[in-house]
């Protein structure tokens, strides 16, 4: 850990130009102005590579699949230049005992300096028999790894809100990471899975700025979960104009109109899909014609049926001439925030509805 990031890149044959190019890409993924590139370069010139332990618990591996699709930084840049991915079942060469030894070594050698990324929920029922690795329960494994970590990133909807296995009646007693880890910071990065560049961006943020990202009131990085998909949707103008897809593949669908009436959860879902988009900015569900299913929101599976909308979301078209608004704009912004709050309130009230398993005290 003595060598800096930049020194290591140079030793590996990269030029300073390559290094600055990578810094530029990092700046872009973090959503910062170009002027931040030099700060990032400076940070990386003085920082060592970060050991990362990636745990796969009760999950489907969609998060790992998303992780390896990151386009900026590329996974190879992450693996060779930014982090030391010392444990990740999906990719690591060693199995069994040798895999577990690699993890133990990192926990000992880098005590207090490594990051834990968790994919998957933790099933607590029946002594944890529903997910064991090396004969140990998911809970034991998580607690051990988290104990001396810098922070734990709960990566994906399983780790942040238990995803499908936690849907009613949650047969295995799945809980999210934050219910288990209390003594180190937990950063929720939800989505099923999260966008590839998001997890890389969160790690890069920590490496670059030497601090954990600022979080929303739900414990998610503001850089990716600060706005509703609705706020940045490419079909938003049609919502405001009252132009809706009434049925799939109808004339409205062929014009690319708003999907609200076929169940779109964009108005109640906080994620970067409409901004960052998927698979290096190609598209996102709404752009490709399917309503958002709300996969980054807690309990989203119990907020279905998928093709009906949950609650009334008011149209917010402005009946004003923009040129005449002038100083009223501040007031309108406040009104906009209030409308935004109404939408948020809808989903939150739903969350407060007790589910049967909670009523049963599970």
């Amino acid at each position: 850990m003595n060598e800096t990031f930049y020194q290591e890149m140079r030793r590996k044959g990269y030029s300073r130009r390559d290094f600055l190019k990578m810094c530029g890409l990092l700046t872009a993924v973090l959503g910062l102005e170009a002027s931040f590139t030099s700060r990032i370069a400076n940070a990386l010139e003085t920082k060592p590579r970060l050991p990362v332990i990636y745990l796969s618990l009760q999950e489907c591996t969609c998060c790992a699949e998303s992780f390896i699709r990151t386009a900026h930084p590329l996974l190879s840049e992450l693996l060779f230049n930014m982090i030391s991915l010392d444990y990740m079942e999906t990719l690591q060469a060693a199995s069994g005992l040798q895999a577990e030894e690699a993890k133990m070594k990192t926990m000992q050698d880098y005590k207090g300096h490594y990051l834990v990324v968790v994919e998957g929920s933790i099933p607590l029922n029946d002594d944890g028999i529903y997910c064991t690795i090396g004969g140990r329960s998911a809970k034991d494994i998580l607690l051990e790894a988290a104990q001396n970590s810098v922070a734990v990133i709960a990566y994906g909807s399983c780790a942040t809100n238990t995803c499908v296995q936690g849907a009613y009646p949650n047969p295995t007693g799945a809980v999210p990471v934050k219910n288990i880890v209390a003594h180190v910071p937990v950063i929720d990065v939800p989505g099923c899975p999260p966008i590839a560049e998001v997890i890389a961006g969160v790690i890069a943020h920590y490496l670059t700025f030497d601090r954990l990202p600022e979080l929303t009131n739900l414990g998610r990085p503001k850089a990716f979960y600060n706005h509703r998909i609705h706020d940045n949707c490419n079909r938003r103008a049609f919502f405001d104009a009252g132009m809706f897809v009434e049925n799939f593949d109808d004339d409205g669908a062929k014009q690319g109109w708003c999907l609200y009436k076929v169940g779109c959860k964009g108005p109640t879902t906080y994620n970067a899909c409409a901004i960052t988009q998927w698979n290096n900015g190609v598209s996102y569900p709404i752009k490709s014609g399917h309503p958002c299913i709300g996969c980054s929101e807690p309990g989203f599976y119990d907020n279905f049926p998928m093709y009906e909308h949950l609650a009334h979301v008011p149209i917010t078209a402005m009946p004003f001439e923009p040129d005449k608004i002038g100083k009223w704009i501040t007031g309108l912004t406040v009104a906009g925030v209030a409308a935004h709050g109404v939408a948020t309130g809808v989903i939150k009230r739903l969350d407060k509805e007790p589910r049967k398993d909670e009523e049963a005290g599970k």
């Binding site: 591996t61 590329l74 982090i83 199995s95 690699a102 004969g135 009613y168 949650n170 295995t172």
Partner: protein
């Protein structure tokens, strides 16, 4: 020396949590037990849901097989409701299926399987010039210069020299089971990195039609991606051009990198004939309609081969309650009443865990030892996957498959018997990737031709409204996933799911033994394999990886007891 129990847990470079316990005696494995150690219990969760939502739940069975479970699900519901999807939707789904096969198989070869054959540390000793000569002798891939391989080797040297080996830490480097010369190792490491970069691009085909990957979006009755070539917010020429671009890149990558590497590496290991396993093979058939499914005209024909006899092939019907049954002799489940095998229509998943309380050292393999059930065809364990597809296609006389297999055997200078091995499985996966990438192009051309002819329909509306559905109905969606035969079964009562069951490829392959000690395919494949050092399980993971395990799929996640549908007020309508 007494029989020694080897435990490998976790088996890494797979999807999910797999544990292998093997008995080692006199230099080789004499018995083996395969255990899936995760269970998510979605069966109860599916009860009472809207069948049009089912795909989104069961897609989350697995993020690696992210597309194919959703396809099997929408097909099962469409089968139950009697919906025929429009031609464009069918072609788009087939393009997405082929995309998944190509992407998944390439990732498997380089990122999940290659390190069983390729010694990363040995690559440090390679001569970049000789590596370049080797690379140019087997392929016209442009990235093959001395400078290119020198750069890769320098990166690797720095990485290893840093002492932080990351994902390569504690690997089995220097193990005597590695046979490649340093130059082949360096070439393979370079292509490991190239494949990593390429795989993120081909999935953009899913993103165009399904909005994202992993876990794209689907629709009962067709697809949601409206086609309007004269609109800016729909499938238009720009979107289709991006699909074409990715298809062309995929064709190049498979032909210039994957296939040449497969033969180059395979030629050094062709004498390592272990890992054969059970001698029965099954394919449900894929990319065909019901008329052609069990004939040579399907892209991947369906059928059954017994005892490695390629002169006979039998038809398979997943609907037939006599053919497909699941037993639970060694699985942590119980059946009410009759404890024998059950067809998925009568499936039941009642948990009965009898294993040790964690933390534990060893499973009781005389009793129940896995979350995975044991599916059987006519009472026999069957291997499913690329090898099964190639063998069934070969036996059916499918010209494309026959030419592909014969050509490969000739090129390697080996006979058909070599197919019945870990390497045979790995070879079959590569051969079908080549078939799939060509299919991807012809299907894309068919989609364009159909749109050009004036058809833009992607969705069948007539049976979308639940009021048009029968009071009760049932359906099955069966196909081939990258890892093998896949079937989803659904029963619908009063507009809600009352039974849902998926019998998935890795359930077939990773199954525990049955009451008569008939071993599952993983188990059978391990028995008889010599190991250089029982503490270093390289030979075990090499054989297990040749099946491409997917344990989240396998641990019988989705099946529903027929029962009272949930009260509607459980959901927030």
């Amino acid at each position: 020396m007494a029989v020694q129990r080897i435990v490998v847990d976790p088996i890494t470079r797979i999807e999910g949590h797999l544990r292998i316990e093997a008995d080692f005696d006199n230099g080789k494995i004499v018995n083996a037990f395969s255990s899936g150690t995760t269970f998510r219990g979605l069966e109860k969760i599916m009860e009472g849901r809207d069948p049009r939502d089912a795909w989104a739940f069961v897609q989350r069975i697995c993020g690696v097989c992210t597309h194919i479970h959703a396809i099997a699900s929408v097909q099962a519901v469409e089968d139950a409701l009697g919906i025929t999807i429009p031609k464009n939707a069918d072609l788009i789904r087939k393009i997405m299926t082929a995309t998944q096969f190509v992407q998944d198989h390439v990732i498997h070869f380089y990122h999940l399987h290659a390190l069983d054959w390729v010694d990363v540390v040995s690559a440090l000793k390679a001569d970049p010039k000789a590596t370049s000569t080797l690379a140019q002798s087997i392929s016209n891939y442009p990235k093959s210069s001395v400078g290119y391989f020198t750069d890769i080797q320098n990166t690797l040297k720095g990485f290893v020299g840093s002492g932080q080996l990351g994902i390569f830490a504690n690997g089995y480097w220097g193990h005597p089971a590695y046979k490649l010369p340093p130059e082949a190792n360096l070439m393979a490491v370079a292509h490991y990195l190239e494949a990593l970069e390429w795989q993120k691009d081909i999935v953009r085909i899913h993103t165009i039609f399904g909005g994202k990957n992993p876990h794209p979006n689907y629709l009962v009755g067709g697809m949601a991606c409206a086609i309007n070539i004269d609109n800016d917010n729909t499938i238009n020429m720009e979107r289709l051009d991006l699909v074409a671009r990715e298809i062309n890149k995929a064709i190049d990558f498979v032909n210039q990198v994957y296939i040449p590497d497969l033969f180059a590496i395979g030629s050094f290991y062709k004498d390592w004939g272990f890992g054969g396993g059970v001698t029965n093979y099954m394919s449900y058939g894929s990319l065909a309609d019901d008329k052609t499914r069990n004939t040579k005209d399907a892209v991947f024909p369906g059928g059954i081969i017994l005892n490695r006899d390629l002169s006979k092939v039998m038809d398979v019907d997943p609907r037939d309650p006599e053919q497909i049954k699941e037993v639970i002799d060694h699985s942590w489940y119980d059946y009410t009443g009759d404890k024998g095998g059950r067809h998925p229509w009568n499936g039941e998943t009642t948990v009965k865990y009898t294993g040790p309380k964690p933390p534990y050292q060893q499973l009781d393999t005389a009793g129940k030892y896995s979350w995975i059930k044991t599916p059987q065809w006519m009472g026999k364990s069957m291997e499913v996957g690329p090898l099964a597809r190639m063998l069934v296609g070969y036996a059916r006389g499918n010209d494309v498959i026959k030419t592909s297999v014969d050509g490969a055997l000739q090129k390697l200078g080996v006979g058909k018997e070599s197919l019945f091995s870990a390497l045979g499985r790995t070879l079959a996966r590569g051969l079908e990737t080549k078939i799939m990438v060509d299919y991807l192009k012809t299907t894309y051309d068919a989609l364009l031709a159909n749109i050009k002819a004036g058809d833009s329909k992607v969705f069948e509306q007539s049976k979308w409204d639940p009021s048009t559905w029968p009071k009760t109905c049932q359906g099955v969606g069966f196909t081939e996933a990258p890892r093998g035969a896949l079937a989803h079964y659904v029963k619908i009562d009063n507009g809600k799911v009352s039974l849902y069951q998926a019998v998935v490829p890795t359930t077939w392959n990773a199954a525990p033994e049955d009451q008569q000690h008939q071993k599952g395919p993983y188990e059978a494949a391990l028995i008889g394999t010599p190991m250089a050092d029982p503490q270093k399980p390289l030979e075990i993971i090499r054989i297990i990886h040749s099946f491409d395990p997917c344990i989240a799929c396998a641990a019988h996640i989705i099946d529903v007891n027929t029962g009272e549908p949930l009260n509607d007020n459980h959901f927030f309508y």
